[in-house]
C-alpha cells in the first residue's frame, strides 16, 4: 500500500482516467481527480474537482487544495484529452483551438503548477499521455497528432528543466483503447490503425497502469524525457 502518497490525475470521470483513479485509490494513494463532469468514484481517498483543465484559476485552486490538505504531490498524470478526425481542408479553426487548448495548454498548466510543489520536496513523477499518432503520422489526425507531438516535445524539455529537482517527466504513446475517445471513429479506420502496429490489438487498461506503475516508482529515478509507445510502434 502506498499510504501518504498523493497522485493527481486529469480527466477522471471516464475511460483511462476513471480506471487509473480507482486503481491508485485502491493502492492507498490519496487521489485527486478532475474533469468537466462528475465522477461516480466514491472512495474515501478520492477527491474530485469539477474543472476544465484549461481554466487557470480553477486549476490553481486544485493545487492550493493539495498544498493545504496533503502538503505534497508525488505523481501527476496528464490524461485529459480530446480527439477529432478530419481532413485538414475540412478542419474548422475552432476545432484546432479546442484540441490544442485541452491537449497541450491544459497539460502545460498542470505540469507548471505540479512542478512548483514537486521542486520543493525534491521528488516528483510526471506522466503525460500522448499517442502513437505522433510517430505514425496518421492521415485524418493531423491536428490531434500535432497537439500530441507538442506534448512529447514539451515533455522532453521539461524533463531537463526539472531534472535537478528529482522530478522525472515522461510521456506514453497510447494505441487505441476502448474508450469514448474513439467511440465516433469508424471501425475500418480503427482496424487500419491497428494494422500499423507491431502488436495488432487494443491497449488494455491494465497495460497502461503497468507502465505508469513502472514510471512512478522510486526506482525509476533514472528514466526521464522518454516517450514510450505501446504496441511496438
Amino acid at each position: 500500500m502506498e499510504l501518504n502518497k498523493t497522485i493527481l490525475i486529469t480527466g477522471t470521470s471516464k475511460g483511462i482516467g476513471r480506471y487509473l483513479s480507482e486503481y491508485y485509490a485502491g493502492k492507498g494513494f490519496n487521489v485527486i481527480g478532475c474533469s468537466r463532469s462528475k465522477s461516480d468514484l466514491t472512495v474515501e481517498n478520492y477527491h474530485h474537482f469539477l474543472t476544465d483543465v484549461t481554466d487557470e484559476t480553477k486549476v490553481k485552486e486544485i493545487f492550493t487544495f493539495i498544498r493545504k490538505k496533503f502538503s505534497r504531490l508525488d505523481v501527476l498524470i496528464n490524461n485529459a484529452g480530446i480527439a477529432s478526425m478530419n481532413h485538414v481542408m475540412l478542419t474548422p479553426i475552432k476545432s484546432v483551438e479546442k484540441i490544442f487548448s485541452v491537449n497541450f495548454t491544459g497539460m502545460f498548466l498542470f505540469c507548471r503548477e505540479a512542478s512548483k510543489i514537486m521542486s520543493k520536496q525534491k521528488f516528483g513523477r510526471i506522466i503525460n499521455l500522448s499517442s502513437v499518432a505522433v510517430k505514425l503520422d496518421l492521415e485524418g489526425e493531423a491536428v490531434y497528432a500535432a497537439s500530441k507531438s507538442a506534448v512529447v516535445s514539451f515533455t522532453k524539455v521539461l524533463s531537463k528543466e526539472l531534472s535537478e529537482f528529482g522530478i522525472t517527466v515522461n510521456s506514453i504513446g497510447l494505441t487505441p483503447v476502448k474508450t469514448d475517445l474513439i467511440k465516433g471513429v469508424p471501425e475500418e479506420k480503427i482496424n487500419s490503425l491497428l494494422d500499423k502496429l507491431t502488436l495488432k490489438k487494443f491497449t488494455e487498461l491494465r497495460d497502461i497502469s503497468n507502465l505508469t506503475d513502472f514510471l512512478i516508482g522510486e526506482e525509476s529515478s533514472f528514466i526521464t524525457g522518454q516517450n514510450i509507445n505501446f504496441g511496438g510502434v
Binding site: 490553481k60 492550493t64 498544498r67 535537478e164
Partner: protein
C-alpha cells in the same frame, strides 16, 4: 479586504528565509527591504529567483488568499523590474492587489 504592505513584506521575508535554508551562509539573502533580488548585484542565480517567485506566489495564495501571477505580461513590461529588490517587489504586489480589489 485590502492587504497591507507590512503583510506583503512579511510574506517576502518568510519566502527568503525558506530559500536561504537551501543556501550556505555566504549565499544567503538579507532580510531587509534593500536586498537585491535580480541583476549583477544579486546573490540569487536565475533558478534561485524562480524559486523565490514561486515561494512568494504560493504564500500569498495560502496565507493571504491573494492570487497573483508575478510573471505575467504586466510585470514583465514594467519600466523597472519588480524583482530588483525586496522593496520593489513589495510595492509591485501592493499596487497590483489594489488594482484587483476595489476599496
Amino acid at each position: 479586504m485590502k492587504i497591507s504592505a507590512d503583510q506583503i513584506r512579511e510574506i517576502i521575508y518568510e519566502s527568503i528565509n525558506e530559500i536561504n535554508s537551501f543556501f550556505n551562509k555566504d549565499k544567503q539573502l538579507g532580510i531587509k527591504e534593500e536586498t537585491v533580488l535580480y541583476g549583477q548585484d544579486s546573490r540569487l542565480d536565475s533558478l534561485g529567483l524562480v524559486n523565490l517567485i514561486v515561494e512568494v506566489e504560493q504564500r500569498l495564495t495560502d496565507k493571504l488568499n491573494l492570487n497573483i501571477d508575478l510573471t505575467d505580461e504586466k510585470a514583465l513590461s514594467q519600466n523597472q523590474s519588480p524583482f530588483l529588490t525586496v522593496k520593489s517587489l513589495c510595492d509591485y504586489i501592493y499596487n497590483h492587489q489594489n488594482q484587483q480589489t476595489p476599496e
